[in-house]
């Protein structure tokens, strides 16, 4: 049940030289490449079915509506949501989190309430809660990240203490984009439920890599982006339990989400339309649907196993380099498909610039995780993140390139 190396041929962008070297794309945590089937699904929409949705009765409009609502049903199947109406299309993870923070948050939080999150969150699952706390007078608390290099994880003892009945929402990442730590989301949701808190899972990094079943996880909300799972930019999903969504006030308002409008006021449709004001991103929803198909055809357990194995290999090989700090979980603990590291001798930007000359695409910086980097005393790290098309041979090239850089800067 392993992935076929032939699948590289499905991704047109991989077939290119960068600085004269074959592209080795290891920046999948930022965005993944797209298979031809996804690109074609969108072109075909524009070439044949292009039209606005919902309010149209002519042939193209009905085809566009079927495509768009079909994508919603496909998304529901991909994460095993109970109803298609639990899928709200957004621009991506960031907008999904903002939607919950504004709509659910403004209506339900007040002074004395606690929003719980963790120290390993991406800015997109952190700043919206800071702002919500500021607006409502609620308090924002963080589950600490503990452990030394190579053994990072959430402090589960602290979590027990922090999960008081005042906690109204626990928002946490499934897979840390900086550490590679894969949290036990089902267990975290169960603990939160026990004190009556709702849960929001940031699945930006996990959605394209790990099998996800929202009913098994037991979460109330789940947020993800299409572009990090072989889908297009500009589209993402907020999953929310139906009763929760239907009880939430609108976020953006305008065409398509109203039942009745007078010059005095308006009434709202139920979810998901309530949360999709204006013309939606029809073509990209259809592209996203093709990405769900692509990943399910590969098999999600196989994807997960592939990505974990590459990350483990990279982790082991890089750990042998001099003066290196490798972040993330202890070996043996689950590690998602990425590895973040820092050299004493070379700064991450210099590393990325050097690697680029070898055709290797890496990311260097704070990975939208400034407070955690500050806690670790690191200005930045270099991150290699893997996807279905990456190979063991590419890991070897990465390690070789890193060795060369160290030699240059040590020289």
């Amino acid at each position: 049940m392993s992935l076929s190396p032939d699948l590289r041929l499905d991704f047109p962008a991989l077939d290119q030289l960068v600085g004269g070297k074959p592209l080795v794309y290891l920046d999948n945590g930022a965005t993944t490449h797209k298979p031809r089937s996804v690109i074609t699904a969108m072109s075909r929409f524009y070439e044949r079915d292009n039209s606005n949705v919902h309010r149209g009765l002519h042939a193209l409009s009905m085809r566009a509506t079927d495509g768009f609502e079909g994508a919603r049903a496909r998304a529901a199947r991909f994460i095993n949501a109970a109803h298609a109406a639990e899928i709200v299309f957004t621009r991506g993870t960031t907008e999904s989190v903002n939607l919950v923070a504004h709509s659910w948050g403004n209506a339900n939080l007040r002074a004395g309430d606690v929003i719980l999150t963790t120290e390993m969150e991406h800015h997109s699952n952190l700043v919206p809660w800071q702002e919500l706390a500021r607006r409502t007078g609620a308090t924002l608390r963080y589950v600490p990240v503990i452990g030394s290099d190579g053994e990072h994880g959430l402090d589960l003892d602290a979590l027990e203490r922090l999960l008081t009945p005042q906690v109204k929402l626990f928002a946490f990442t499934h897979l840390s984009n900086t550490l590679g730590v894969l949290n036990d989301a089902a267990a975290l949701c169960a603990k939160a439920r026990a004190v009556g808190a709702l849960t929001l899972i940031d699945a930006a990094q996990s959605i394209g890599h790990e099998p996800i079943d929202v009913q098994a996880l037991g979460c109330d909300f789940l947020a993800f982006s299409g572009h990090k799972m072989a889908g297009p930019t500009g589209i993402g999903v907020l999953y929310g339990k139906r009763a929760l969504l239907d009880a939430m006030p609108p976020y953006q308002t305008g065409g398509g989400m109203v039942v009745s409008v007078t010059y005095e006021g308006a009434t709202w449709k139920p979810s998901p339309e309530r949360f999709e004001a204006g013309t939606p991103n029809i073509a990209d929803a259809i592209g996203l649907s093709a990405a769900f198909d692509y990943l399910d055809a590969l098999g999600r357990p196989a994807i997960s196993a592939h990505d974990h194995a590459l990350a483990q290999h990279a982790c082991t090989a890089l750990s042998e380099l001099p003066g290196i700090r490798v972040l993330g979980p202890k070996s043996g603990q689950p590690r998602g498909g990425l590895v973040s590291f820092a050299f004493a001798e070379a700064h991450a930007h210099d590393v990325v610039t050097f690697a680029d000359q070898d055709g290797i695409a890496l990311r260097g910086g704070h990975h939208c995780n400034q407070p955690l980097m500050r806690k670790f005393g690191l200005p930045s790290t270099t991150r290699a993140s893997f996807y279905v098309y990456n190979t063991e041979a590419e890991i070897e090239l990465l390690v070789k390139s890193m060795r060369r850089i160290l030699k240059f800067f040590a020289g």
Binding site: H347, A348, H349, T353, F354, G365, H366, P379, S380
Partner: protein
Amino acid sequence: MSDLSDLYQSVILDHNKRPRNRGKPPTANRVATGDNPSCGDNCTVYLHLDPSGRIDTIGFEGSGCAISQASTSLMTTLVKGKTLVEAEALFNDFKSIVTTGQAPEEISDLAAFAGVHAFPARIKCATLGWHATLEALKQPPSA
């Protein structure tokens, strides 16, 4: 890796390894910080001016890549004794070097940064310390 030795000239590697004027001088009474929010680099420059408005003391702290560290270090050696107007003139020369790759004959060490022009994303790194210095020069003295 010919492009890279263009970028990482020995002057740059040297200033990166042994930065000049690192630290906060006790007499400094002006300070400005530059941030590169997209990468997390930062640089704080401390100044003291003599009565005629010339920099007589300069130091810097912060973290960043080889390009930003070396550029800031070199900059501190070049602006000492200069006024705001003179420092601005020097910065204009520097900007022209890193954006065009062309360095005028009479400019020596700054020319080491000509290779940056082939890496547009790194221009911000090369100018981080300069921006902080010019900002500090324009501030009123504190404490």
